[in-house]
């Protein structure tokens, strides 16, 4: 997927023929004059891009959601764009590399500025796997409070679709979303629990109509993957009595932890654990943050 076209220069001008067309759009304001980069420049990387952004603080839920979404996006040929910040950004990059996808990281500081160990290691891997590290700041320009929002406009600029994984109330990801609005790019937000502080921002985006909630259907249309639902599920009748009981219980009473299920049923905790895992493998139930629910 990631062919190499060697370009030795470490910078690329706006009038270079390889400069991404998308960034030349007049909607990208202020205009991007020049980009510094690491890795092998490859125009194909920019053909179909999805930005996956989110808060620095990531919950188990966010991690789990990314684990589902990113492989699908990669599988559908998207290059995953993010910001190399710890939290959702780094997780997105990592997952992309794990499932063999292409990654672009856009920095909010100079291309040669010192990075934290984890970020540096990840950056190295991205380059190694044919991805790119981009920045509009030269050399060792250090990060400022305004460089990150500016960076977001490039992330949005080169992407065709934006996915906000998790965002708190005042997350920078909301800034990304507003760039996307200005540039007319579709934004998807992963909805979360109303109680979860890490989902406040994403829920707000959905509530305000600024983003579409990223449901399974949406994800499938996004990745043109329509066979996902059909493969699942042999009929309820074929199941064992106890498994059926568990599913019915979860359907009627909503998501529950194992302790609660044990209290409300006649099964022992050990048996419930075992059954739930089998049901999860068969695709009947899912676990998130210790709560099990029927799907």
């Amino acid at each position: 997927m990631c062919d190499t076209e060697r370009v030795k220069e470490k910078e690329i001008d706006r009038d270079d023929k390889n400069f991404p067309e998308k960034l030349k759009s007049e909607l990208v304001r202020p205009i991007v004059k020049k980009l510094w980069y690491r890795g092998k420049w490859n125009s194909k990387l920019f053909e179909k891009c999805a930005a996956v952004v989110g808060a620095r603080k990531m919950s188990r839920y966010g991690k789990q959601a990314l684990g589902e979404i990113i492989p699908k996006l990669c599988g559908a040929g998207y290059t995953i764009v993010s910001g190399l910040m710890y939290g959702v950004d780094q997780e997105a990059h990592k997952l992309t590399l794990e499932c063999g996808g292409c990654a672009i990281a856009v920095l909010g500081y100079g291309i040669n500025a010192r990075m934290e160990e984890e970020a540096a290691r990840l950056a190295g891997k991205i380059v190694e796997r044919g991805g790119l590290i981009l920045s509009e700041y030269s050399d060792i320009t250090s990060a400022r409070i305004w460089t990150f929002p500016q960076r977001n406009r490039i992330v949005v600029g080169i992407s065709d679709v934006i996915v906000v994984a998790e965002a708190g109330e005042k997350s920078g990801s909301l800034n990304t979303a507003s760039w996307a609005r200005r540039m007319n790019k579709p934004v998807y937000a992963i909805p979360g629990s109303v109680f979860s502080p890490t989902s406040e921002g994403t829920n707000w985006l959905v509530a305000q109509g600024l983003a579409k909630a990223l449901t399974v259907t949406e994800l499938n249309t996004l990745t043109h993957d329509s066979n996902a639902k059909t493969q699942q599920k042999n009929s309820l009748e074929q199941m064992e009595e106890r498994e059926r009981e568990l599913i019915t219980k979860l359907k009627v009473e909503g998501p529950m932890g194992v302790n609660e299920i044990a209290r409300k049923s006649n099964l022992s905790a050990g048996e419930i654990l075992g059954r739930l895992l089998q049901l999860e493998i068969k695709g009947w139930v899912v676990e998130e943050r210790g709560m099990w629910k029927a799907v």
Partner: protein, 530 residues
């Protein structure tokens, strides 16, 4: 050593005033016979020397012995006294040579006529009283090994030796009593042999597992841990009941076997930690060292190496509360003993090997603030802080923990809601006795399984080789395990761990064969909580 009869006065030549009394030195968990030779010479300036590599306590023994003899109504000879502790090249430490030295002097000086056979062991007070000493059990064990008939030990710790059958234990209260005993004026009443089994049956529970409300999953994991000897890690927010559960854990452990009890008692006797008047460790030890404990405190050490917490937890539980708070270097030293179930400590005084086969029970908060993934409280930790916190427990340590369990915070309304509901809860919760019964029967199965394999008692101890022999999986089960392994990205190591845990779950149910549900349950205890 060993020549001639023990402790008799060499009185064939009148001019030589020499006496030999047998005593015992402890080196690590081993006891070594020591002969206390006392020479009282008429010629030369009055003096009192002790040779034979004694430490400060031994050399100070001179003052105690002198005063104790005088205060017991006997006279201390104004002659040249030389005491040799043989073998002379073995370093000796401690105050337990006071009593044999005193007796030796009195015999050599003909203050008392008679014989003393057997080991004499004990510290003297200035008033002649005999004080408690570490390692009394070892004295009894050595006496049986060397086929000696009697031991003279401090009355306070005499019960330790009294569990050894076939020897006579004389509990000595003070020097006068022993003098009268040797003179055959008034015999000391020997102590009755204590039946080990009679001591072991009662295990007074501190916290019953039934008192832990809710936490069904954690309780189940505790049951599996106790049954299969698996190490257990509990992760959860503060106040979830981790510590409470840990405290209830000893109540579901199987009782000590008689041999096991002796093994544990030996360690406690050497460490001087048996409560006075107690003959034996009746229950499996439960050690919970504070997280500021040093490396030496944990594995043992000192110039004359003493057992550390891991040896004191031998055949019992080592509970490390707030595991990430322990310093990393301290935790790392656990790796070798966890693997070998024994620890060897080398110091200037020599090399000692202490057994350390313990079950590690650990608890941890999920992050520094404690509220990561809490259902209604917000965690205030940044990702990096969390990563740093996680890194404090290294892979190799996690690797040795078979069961990883997330402990939910208890919802207060569930605990205090209507009485009716509360009753229902109590009804469902089992008490420790019921759980313990299952644990004992599962252990029984394991004992049968591992007969003939030395040092292997539990499923947790199985290596990959044994897993292949003892944990045969049917095709269906194997297929399921592979599916699960793919879905949850189980490593090869986790794969075997799951099988071992599944073996224990099957044992708990009394099943020979490992079924899909056993495997499925075991997969749930994989490393996804840390």
């Amino acid at each position: 050593m060993g020549s001639g009869r023990a402790g008799n006065v060499e009185s064939c030549i009148v001019n030589i005033m020499l006496a030999k009394v047998k005593s015992v030195a402890t080196v690590g968990l081993e006891a070594v016979e020591v002969t206390v030779e006392v020479d009282v010479a008429e010629r030369g300036f009055p003096a009192f020397d002790i040779v034979g590599l004694g430490d400060k306590a031994v050399s100070e023994s001179r003052a105690r012995v002198k005063k104790a003899i005088e205060n017991s109504g006997a006279s201390f000879p104004d002659k040249r006294i030389t005491v040799n502790l043989a073998p002379a090249d073995l370093p000796k430490e401690g105050s337990n040579y006071d009593l044999p030295i005193a007796i030796g002097i009195l015999l050599a000086n003909r203050e008392i006529e008679g014989e003393i056979e057997g080991y004499v062991y004990g510290e003297l007070g200035l008033d002649g009283s005999v004080k408690r000493c570490r390692g009394t059990l070892l004295v009894g064990m050595l006496a049986r090994e060397k086929k000696l008939s009697a031991v003279y030990v401090p009355i306070e710790t005499a019960a330790e030796a009294a569990v050894i059958p076939g020897i006579i234990v004389y509990p000595v209260r003070n020097l006068t009593e022993l003098i009268e005993h040797i003179r055959e004026e008034k015999k000391i009443e020997p102590m009755k042999t204590i039946e080990i089994l009679s001591l072991l049956d009662d295990a007074e529970p501190q916290v019953d597992i039934g008192e832990v409300v809710g936490q069904e999953v954690a309780k189940r994991a505790a049951e599996i841990a106790a049954a299969g000897g698996h190490n257990l890690l509990l992760v959860g927010p503060p106040g979830a009941g981790k510590t409470m559960l840990a405290k209830a854990f000893p109540s579901i452990l199987p009782p000590l076997l008689p041999e096991e009890s002796l093994e544990v008692t030996r360690i406690y006797s050497v460490a001087g930690m048996l409560p006075s008047g107690t003959a034996l460790m009746r229950r499996r030890p439960f050690r919970s060292p504070h997280h500021t404990t040093s490396m030496v405190g944990l594995i043992g050490g000192g110039s004359n190496p003493m057992p550390g917490e891991i040896s004191l937890a031998h055949l019992g539980v080592l509970f490390l509360d707030e595991l990430p708070e322990f310093s990393r270097s301290v935790l790392e030293v656990l790796r070798q003993p966890m693997e070998d179930q024994t620890v060897s400590i080398t110091r200037a005084m020599g090399k000692v090997q202490y057994p350390a086969s313990f079950l590690l029970l650990a608890s941890a908060n999920p992050c520094p603030c404690g509220y990561l993934n809490h259902p209604f409280k917000e965690c205030t930790c940044g990702e990096r802080v969390i990563n740093k916190y996680r890194a404090r427990i290294s892979g190799p340590i996690l690797d040795r923990i078979d069961l990883h369990v997330w402990v939910d915070p208890v919802e207060v309304n569930k605990l205090t809601s209507t009485d009716e509901r509360r009753e229902k809860l109590d009804e469902r919760g089992e008490n420790s006795t019921q759980v313990r019964e299952r644990v004992i029967s599962a252990r029984g199965k394991q004992q049968m399984r591992f007969t003939g394999i030395r040092g292997m008692y539990t499923n947790a101890q199985m290596g990959n080789k044994q897993v292949k022999i003892f944990c045969k999986l049917s095709e269906e089960v194997k297929q399921f395990l592979n599916t699960a392994a793919n879905k949850y990205n189980l490593s090869a190591r986790a794969y075997f761990k799951v099988i071992k845990v599944a073996r224990t779950i099957a044992d708990l149910e009394g099943m020979e064969e490992i079924l899909v549900n056993h495997i499925a349950e075991a997969v749930q205890y994989r490393e996804n909580v840390w």
